[in-house]
Every structure is written in C-alpha cells, then in structure tokens.
Amino acid sequence: MTDGPLIVQSDKTLLLEIDHPLSTECRRAIAPFAELERSPEHIHTYRLTNLGLWNARAAGHDAEQVIDTLLKYSRYAVPHSILVDVAETMSRYGRLRLEADPVHGLILVTTDTAVLEEVIRAKKIAPLLGVRIDAQTVAVHPSQRGHIKQSLLRLGWPAEDFAGYVDGQHHEIDLVQNGWKIRQYQELAAEGFWHGGSGVVVLPCGAGKTIVGAAAMAHAKATTLILVTNTVAARQWREELLIRTTLNEDEIGEYSGSKKEIRPVTIATYQVMTKKKNGVYSHLDLFDTHDWGLIIYDEVHLLPAPIFRFTADIQSRRRLGLTATLVREDGLEGEVFSLIGPKRFDVPWKEIEAQGYIAPAECIEVRVTLTEQERLAYATAEPENKYRHCATAVTKRKIVEELVKQHADDQVLVIGQYIDQLDELQAVLNVPIIKGDTPIKEREHLFGLFRQGKIKCLVVSKVANFSIDLPEASVAIQVSGAFGSRQEEAQRLGRILRPKADGRTARFYSVVSRDTIDQDFAQNRQRFLAEQGYSYRIIDADDVYQGKI
C-alpha cells in the first residue's frame, strides 16, 4: 500500500483524488491512455477502455509504460486482472497494419499469422480483401480502406494505418497573428492532430476550436473542406478564417442551401451534404471530385450517418474532427474512432476555465411550482405529451420575464425547444426571435445587433445550439430542451462561455417545473456538466422574485 492519488477499480475505472499533491503529475501520466469520464470537484473518474488503450498505442505508448504508471500512482494493489487485460488489449493493436505497397497498392500486413487467418475468415472482412500475397500479407481493395478499419475494430483487432495520406492540392495558408496569439493548448491540439495524421480534438465550447482548425490548415497548406452544422456557423467560420489566416474572400467558398461555391477552402453544411435528390445524395461527390488535402468535421458528435458512410471512402485524406463533447447519444463513438480517427487531444473544461480562456459559469436550476390547473392538465396528458406540457407551462413565462428584468444590463439568450412557447415568450418580452424559419440574412443581422449590444435579449430556438459565436452573451435562460440530452445542455452552456471583457461570471438558468418529468430530464441533462465540475444550484422561483439569486 502506498500513498498514491489513484485508485484502480476492478471495473477498469480509475479514481483520481484531486486534492492529493501528486494529482497533477498523475493526471498527466494517465491522460494518454485513460478516458476522462467525470471531473467533479474532489475525485475525477477515468476509464480504461479498449479505444483509449489503442489510442495510447497509436501515440507510441506501450503496455509496460501503462502498467508502470498504474502501479506507481496506485494507492492500493492493482487488481491483477486489470494488468493482464491492459497488456492483452494493447497487444492487439498493431498486429495488423495497413500499408501502401508499390506493387499491390493497399495491403494488410500482420506480424502474427494466426490473427490474419482469423480475420480473413471473418464474414464481414472477406469481401473487402483481394489476393493473398504471402503468409503475412493480403491485398486490400483501396476503396475499402475505411470499411476494413471499421470491421477490424469491431472484431477487436484494430489495424494501424500506415498507408499514409495524399497531400491534396497545395494551397498556401498561414496564420496571421496580429493582435492575438494562438493559445498554447490550441497549438498543442493542432500539433497533436498533425502528428497523428487524423483524429479528433475535444475542447470545451468557447475554447476556440475554429483556431485549432485554422492552425491545422496552416500545417496542411492544402485545399480544405470544412463541414459544419448550419449556414450561420458556415459564415462564422468564414469570418474567423478571414481574420485569423492569410486567406482572402475569394479563396473561401460556401457550399450550402443557398450558395454552391467551390473554392480552395470550401465550407459545406451537413444539411446540404445529406440532401437527397431522387433518392441519391447528389452533393456527396464534393468529397471525391476535388483533391482536398484536409477535411474538417465541426461538431463531430453530430455527424450524420450518410457522412460516416462517405468518410469511409476517403481514408487517404487527412481528417480532423472537432467537438466539445464526444458523447454521442447514439453510441457511435467507435465509428468516429475508426473513420475520423482516434482522439488526439482532450482537456478538462475546468482547466481551461482556470487558465481564463473560458468564462467561469454558474449554473442555476430555477424551480417553478405549477398551478393547480396546470398540474391537472399535466397529470391527465398522454405520456408522449407529458414533457411538452410541463416544459411549456405558462407559469414559466412569468419567471423568465422576471429573470430578464433582473439581468437588464446583461446580454441575455432565452433558449427553448418548442416554437410556440418561444413565440409567446417573444411576445411577452418584446424582443426579437430566431428560429428555424428565420431567413439567414435576418439571423445574421440580429446576431450582429446582439454582438454590438444593440439588442440586449434574444429568444432563440435550437438553431442556436451550436457554433453560434456570441462573445458578449453572459446569461442564458433555458426554458425547454430536447428531453434529457446531456450534449445539448453542454452546448447551450457553451454559448455563454466566451470570456467576458470584464471577467464577469456567466449565468446559466434552467427553468424547471417542480414535481414533473421536466425535473427528471433536467437531472439527466445536467449530468454531463456536473461531471465536468459544474455544480448546479437549485433555487425556488419565489427566491427570484425576492431578488435572492
């Protein structure tokens, strides 16, 4: 028994005591191979996963190092089974390698013939393979590079991809650092990505993922395709790139519902890419017909399934995924790993907050009590409508009004799920609203006014969940959401995390109807942020009226 800060559990979680003097050192040591699962105030939970261990192998760590680290920092004896498991899992990575061969094109090479024999007999793998070259080598159809990686990962024999990348069409891109400087973690992230070849960078909302993208482009110096969630985000990317890089307006194209420009740097939306015409995805050629040197996936946790399918076909191009939360509610993290690449960089939210790059935030759950009438309506509603009933209760309207009044000096966003609820709120608050059917032009105009401080308060629907850069927004009031989505909650908080000029603490209010499933969902939604160390405070609506916030 030592006095280490780490406790290794038999279910492969690692508990790290934060107040321990060795905790920082230990965190650095385990970060390469363990996934940070939760980081609340006292004890952080990491997990040893197959993906994480393979990630570490990909980054050049071996099992012995991992085991040494565990033994060094562990407070109690490390369960033997874990050590065995780590060694075994890590040894599975790299036994199969994808390589480029001058004669046969793409080949799958092994150091362990038995493994190769096993995988070529697998039903899912066999059709992807070509001729057997020798005992250790088999040819792979070049177009199947992505699919074979996916299938091998599912079999538990992840292949290391040494087949390299095409450089793409050269295009000069550099960062222009006048009046600002790239932050250290952004640089580390871009470098981590570049050395790994492809992969995902995980940074909190507001931590400047766009800059990481720009830095990656500056590394690649090649034509780039950027995929983003919607048109407004596309415009923001464009503006950022114009400020931060040597690119000029003509070099950046927008490929969206309204414009179809293809330029050296093209920004496309997921929506247009996945639009079907006569049953075919007519825009997916965009990937293929141009010689991109780099493809950036913004908000990779939202990547739609058709794009996954297509990504599998372009494995020879460098791919960078950006996200704040690699939590996919659909559980497709494995696809992200095998198709976009392993996680290359990750930093706890609170650490960036401590460095002052994101604003400190306070999360407050405001509980309102429904009126008798509302309760009755809720109680008798059909189960599928229950959430809607309690989330859009009229009682919430009054408290939102009060909150907006109390934050008259702040830039306030009111965020919700249900359009009619938002329409009502807009009418009561007498402020502009942005929702799905608001034209892009109008949206940009309104966001512009908001940024300049000419509008103090905006009502927004879920269109503003992501990638909308509103630096001065310091208060968000959430009135309803997509049920228990943890990822949405994190994204919404992200809207107000840009550091404020006066260093103000951002406030995130979540208005919740007491004793209904609204409250249950709220609890689930808060889980991700609570695990990131954002603890919620619960207050009663009456306290708000009495000014006790």
Partner: protein
C-alpha cells in the same frame, strides 16, 4: 504358501517397522485387525494395495513395476540392473510400505500386487517358456525388426490379419518363438524378449529425478501485495453475493443447485466471469453462509451476520481451510461436457480434489517466489503423484486450483503468498489484519450525485450506504450513485429523509451538494403519499355518521374494523361474514361486486366448479370357456417346469452334500491355493436376494475382489464376488 510367508514376514517386523507401515498405509489399521494373519490378508488385498500404489511417485512406481516384471525372488542387483542404480534408495521405502518384502532368498511381492499392477506391467507381456537364443534376434529379417520395433516398448500385443497366414516378418518371429500367438488375430511379445530388446532395462524413460519447475520469478513482496488485494477482493465478493441474494434470492433447481441464469446474474453483479461466480457461490455454500430453504429459495443464513462481524483474517482462514479440504470441485460447473452440473448442486464431489489441491499448494510453497508455468507444474505434480486412473481430471484440478488460489489470495501473481505459508505452517497470526488497508469511516460526496469511499468502508457505514445509493464501481474504493430510486429504497428501509441527510452530513468529508439535498427532500416528500395494504372486505357509506355509529356499536365490538377514510371502513373478515354480522346487529348492508355493481341476493345456491362425476367401474365380464381353459393350460405348464427345476436342485444338493462354510480369510486362502492347483471346487454363493446356492466351479483367477471361474452348471466363465462366497470346499 505365499500369503503365509508374507504374513511371516509381517510377523517378523519390529514395532517401528509396523508403525511406519501403518503411517504409510493408514487404511490397514482402520479398523484394527485382530491378528497379524488378518493384517497380512488386508495388506495383500487389492484395494489396499491399489491405495498404497496411488501414493507412490513416478520413480517409486517405476521401480515397483520393474520388480513386477522380474521373476520372484528378485535380488537387489537384478532390480538395479533393469532400472537405475538410484533405485537402491527407493527399495527400502517400498519395503516399508510392504509393497515388497524380503524373504530368505530375495525380494518378493505380495501375491495380489501383480493384479493391481495389471497383467502387463510396464508394457511387458508374459514370459516365454521356450528356450530362446537372443542372439538370433540380431539376424532377424528387416520385416521382423519392424514388427519388433513396434512392440518393444509396449503394449506387447499386436494384431495380425490371420494367425495362420501371417506376413513374412511375423512368420519368422513365430517360428523362432520370439512372438507367441495369443488368439486368432493377436500375437504377443514375450517379456524376456522385450527386456532383451529394451537393452536389459524396463522403462524407456526412467525418471529418478523430479522434473524442474520453471516459471516467472515474482518477488515475495510483489506477490504478497497482489495477494492481499485478492484477499480483500474475495472477502468483498463474499459480502456482495450474499447481500445480493438476500435481496433477490435465486431459486434452487429441482435437481438442487443454482441455475445457469441465476449464476449469470450473480456473475454480472460481482463483475466477474461465471467460473469465478460459481467458485464464490460454492465457497459461501460450504461456509454455511447460504442455505437452500424449504421453499427452494437460496438465502443467506444467520451465520452470515456473524461472519460480517469477524475480522478479515478469521474469515479468510476459514474459507481457505474449507477450500483445502473440500472434495467439491466448482471448476466442473458450466463446462460444455458437463452441462447438468450446477453450483450448490450434487455431483460436484471428486475423489482426488482435496489431495490434488494440497499437493499443488505444497509444490507451490516448496518453490516460493515463482509463478510456475502450467505445463511445468503439471509435469512435476504428475511425477509426484501419477494419476493413473484419471489423468485428465488431475490436470483440470491443478489448473483450477491455480485459478482459485489466485482468486483467494492464496497466491499473488501466481506465486504463493506469505499469508498462505503462515496458514500452512499453522501460525496464529497471518498478518492479514495488519496489512489490509484500515477500514475508513468517511465518504466524499460530489456535485454529480456520486459518493466515493476511498477505501474499504466500515461495515455499519457500508450497510447504510448500500441501502440509500447504488454501487457504480467496486474495487479498492467504492463509487456510489444517489438516484431517486436509491433514495426511495432507503426510505422503504425505514429511514426518513432527515435521517438520510443527517447520516450523509456526518459521514461525508465534503458538504452535501445542494442538488443532492433537494433530491432527498423531494423523494422524501413524495414517499409514502400513496398507501397500499391488504384487506378482505370494505364497508362504505355516503353517510359518515352511520359509519361512526357502526364503529361504536357494542354489538359489533368483535369485528376487526378500521376506518381508513370518513366514508370507508375496512375489515379482515370475508364479505359474507361481515354481512351476516351486520344483519344480525340490525343493519341492512347490500353486497357490491368488484366493479361497484350491487349484487342481488341469490335465491338458489349453485356450485361454482365444473361437474366431475365419479368414474363408473364396471363389473367383471363372465369369462368364456376358452379363456378358462387357456388359463388352466398356462398354470399347469408353469407347475410342471417348476417341479422339474426343484427336483433337479434336490438331486444336485444331495450329490454335493451340505453347503460348505469357511471364514473370509480361509475362503481367500483356499481360492488362492486351488487356483494354483487347478482343482474343481464346490462353493456356496449368495445371489442378489440373499439366497445361497450351491455351485460347482473351476477357479481361474482372482482380481479386484472377484473370482473368475468356470461354472459347471452353465458351462460358462463367470465372475463371482468374493464377499458373496459363503464357503469353499473340495469335491
């Protein structure tokens, strides 16, 4: 007489000699024989000899086999020459076990030993009687040499297509008597020829030395550290499986034991594989911590409550000691070839389990700081105790023992731990209590509604936490998660919301986060707002005053009425009885159906169940004359045949005189004697029903408690169980 001289030899032994014999073969003194003669008989009986032979190691066995391959009496020089000079050191041991004894002219074997060792010791056939000139073998034709090569190291039998028309090689060998025909299709290589071909030796690979144990070196400190982790883990598994079963008791299978599904659930709960779960389940069962109740539920016993209060050292000692001595083998559970075997069920006992376990541990403790390679360990143990009857099972038993030893913390990283050494050496203090991390009494509660106990919790704290939070992660520390349902469970266990908060405030080193505080408050507020209970009937009335009147009515004092609302009374009586009681007290109740509809009184009573009239049993039909005649014919025929048999038996009995009677010892002696002399005997033999019949037999041989003899009555060779022979006499 061989036995006599074996008995004489035993008679000649001094006290220490006899004592060491008894120590080496304890079965000889249970029960204590009356005299040396019966001791000799017992020591020469096949079961006792087989048991003694089981206790020999590979080398001792080889020497014994070599002795059996030689003609009696053998001299030491002869034995050494066919084995290895170091056999010299083995012979005294064999002698002290009375598997070999010295007579005036050299060593002899107890007469039954050859049967125990089998007809073909060391793969050698019977000796040839013919005069052989071994030199001729060197000139054998090529084909013959090939045949010899195949038979030399045994088995000595070879099959040929047809003995009258053998191949050229075999023909030559048969002609020269180097092969002996055995039957129509088999030839046999005589012993003396084989020994000559083996170069005057008996065994191809004499193994006077045990194989060397190879393995990974593990520092004692490392293995102790790993072992103590395993110790705390197994103790935790114990508690977890029992706590789990006390909440959700599995049902025992009809054949006894734990079903596959329940085993799987338990394995999932513990977070281990099913083999391990079966092992833990078996151990708690052995420990008497669970029992199968009368209603077939598997439940923890009161012993578990006592167990929880004991120190880890006492617990560990008790479970390891049990594991060492039990004959139950949990490794058998869940194997593809034995699907019907279940944990806690029958059929788990194996004869050699405990012995093999002990032997494995002894071997491990003789090689500390080594985590042995399985193959090397198997080879060594096979040398120490060759399992001739079921070698496959021995291998499995050793593999399982190693696996279980690791689970138990008997070993750590494969090498034996100092705790086990202390236990095996009978030391009082195993140092487990002092080296296990001290239990802690606090937790850390975090903002995400989890609580972490950074170490083993004190039992009282752990119990409360178990009731109010779900365990999310186990190991050195425990991670608990609070949720609505877990808090509700705590409230169901009789705690109030305030008590839970108070407990957390007291136990947590960190302040209770506000969301948790609210969660507890919310759940406590809602808990118990709805009340559920059982009742047999109710009484309702729109007029509360009438109900008040009934409650205070003296005439209805005996009725168990309870008012649960102003307009409702409940009663544990049946609705009908309640009506009768109310009517007799002068009230006018009406019955209500379960949908609230008024039931009008029935005028006539009718049974509710389906009619089931009794079966009609018809009278016997008058038999026809033909049937009667046929019956008579059958009867007569049976009578005649039985009469015939009886008279035959009488004739035989008269001819043979009365049934012979001899004592057990005499019987065996006489049989041995007459087998050699080849005389026809008359014996009394008890059949399955205990009736003794008279048989005339030609005894052929004795093996494993049976006499093989030709029965004159049937003319066939038959096996007679010796204990059933009531007596032997010559004709």
């Amino acid at each position: 007489m061989e036995t006599r001289s074996f008995a004489d030899y035993l008679r000649g032994l001094d006290d220490p000699g006899l004592l060491s014999l008894f120590a080496l073969r304890p079965d000889l003194v249970s029960p204590v024989p009356h005299d040396i003669a019966s001791l000799a008989v017992r020591a020469n009986s096949a079961p006792s000899l087989a048991r003694a032979v089981e206790r020999l190691n590979e080398w001792q066995f080889q020497v014994l086999e070599a002795c059996a391959a030689l003609d009696e009496p053998m001299v030491e020089k002869e034995i050494l020459s066919v084995t290895n000079p170091s056999a010299k050191f083995v012979l005294p041991h064999l002698v002290s076990m009375a598997l070999l004894y010295k007579s005036s002219d050299g060593y002899r074997l107890p007469s039954s030993l050859r049967e125990v060792l089998g007809n073909e010791p060391a793969g050698l056939g019977p000796a040839s009687m013919a005069k052989l000139s071994m030199k001729k073998l060197d000139e054998a034709p090529e084909a013959a040499k090939k045949v010899l090569e195949k038979l030399t190291w045994g088995p000595p039998r070879g099959s040929v297509g047809d003995i009258r028309n053998p191949g050229p090689g075999i023909a030559w060998l048969l002609k020269e008597n180097f092969l002996v025909p055995f039957d129509q299709r088999t030839v046999i290589l005589p012993r003396n020829v084989a020994i000559y071909l083996r170069g005057g030796k008996i065994h191809k690979h004499p193994s006077p030395n045990p194989p060397v144990l190879t393995g990974r070196l593990v520092a004692q400190k490392t293995s102790d550290r790993a072992a103590i982790a395993n110790v705390s883990t197994i103790l935790r598994w114990y508690e977890e499986i029992l706590n789990f079963w006390s909440e959700e008791p599995p049902s025992a299978l009809r054949a006894g034991g734990l079903g596959v599904r329940d085993l799987k659930t338990a394995a999932q709960h513990l977070g281990v594989d099913e083999n391990c779960a079966a092992f833990v389940a078996e151990l708690v069962y052995l420990n008497g911590l669970v029992a199968i109740d009368a209603d077939d539920r598997i439940l923890p016993t009161h012993a578990f409550d006592i167990w929880l209060t004991q120190s880890p050292q006492i617990r560990w000692r008790s479970l390891v000691s049990l594991w060492l001595v039990t004959s139950r083998v949990s490794g058998l559970v869940g194997r593809a070839e034995s699907k019907h075997i279940s944990a806690l069920g029958p059929e788990l006992d194996r004869v050699n389990a405990a012995a093999t376990r002990r032997l494995t541990l002894e071997t491990l403790s003789q090689h500390p700081e080594i985590s042995p390679d399985l193959d090397s360990l198997l080879a060594l143990i096979k040398w120490k105790a060759p399992a001739r009857r079921n070698p496959g099972l021995q291998g499995d038993l050793i593999t399982w023992t190693l696996r279980e030893a690791e689970w138990l913390g008997v070993t750590g990283q494969g090498a034996i731990s100092k705790y086990t050494l202390a236990l095996l050496n009978g030391r009082e203090d195993l140092e487990i209590d002092s080296e296990l991390p001290k239990p802690i009494d606090h937790i850390l509660i975090q903002g995400d509604n989890t609580a972490i106990a950074p170490g083993r919790l004190e039992i009282a704290v752990a119990r409360v936490l178990d009731s109010i939070a779900d365990i999310e992660s186990r190991g050195g520390a425990t991670v608990y998660r609070f949720s609505e349902s877990s808090i509700r469970r705590g409230l169901d266990h009789g705690k109030t919301g305030e008590e839970i908060k108070e407990f957390l405030r007291k136990t947590s080193k960190t302040p209770i986060p506000q969301p948790l505080d609210y969660l507890i408050g919310d759940v406590a507020k809602r808990h118990g707002r709805l009340r559920v209970g059982n009742t047999s009937s109710y009484l309702r009335c729109e007029d509360p005053t009438l109900l008040s009147q009934i409650v205070s009515d003296k005439k209805l004092e005996g009725l168990p009425l309870r008012r649960i609302a102003p307009e409702v009374l409940v009663c544990d009586l049946d609705a009908n009885e309640m009506m009768i009681a109310l009517r007799s007290a002068g009230y006018m109740p009406a019955a209500e159906s379960n949908t609230g509809v008024l039931i009008t009184g029935q005028r006539v009573s009718r049974a509710k169940s389906k009619p089931r009239p009794p079966r009609v049993i018809g009278e016997l039909e008058t038999p026809t004359e033909e049937t009667l005649a046929a019956a008579l014919r059958a009867l007569r025929a049976a009578e005649r045949s039985s009469h015939k048999q009886t008279s035959l038996r009488e004739i035989a009995a008269n001819a043979l005189g009365s049934l012979p009677r001899t004592t057990a010892n005499e019987t065996l002696d006489l049989l041995h004697k007459f087998i050699v002399e080849g005389e026809t005997l008359s014996i009394g033999y008890a059949d399955n029903n205990g009736s003794v019949t008279h048989r005339i037999i030609d005894p052929l041989s004795i093996s494993a408690g049976s006499l093989i003899a030709r029965d004159h009555g049937t003319g066939e060779i038959q096996t007679f169980r010796i204990p059933r022979i009531t007596g032997v006499a010559t004709l």
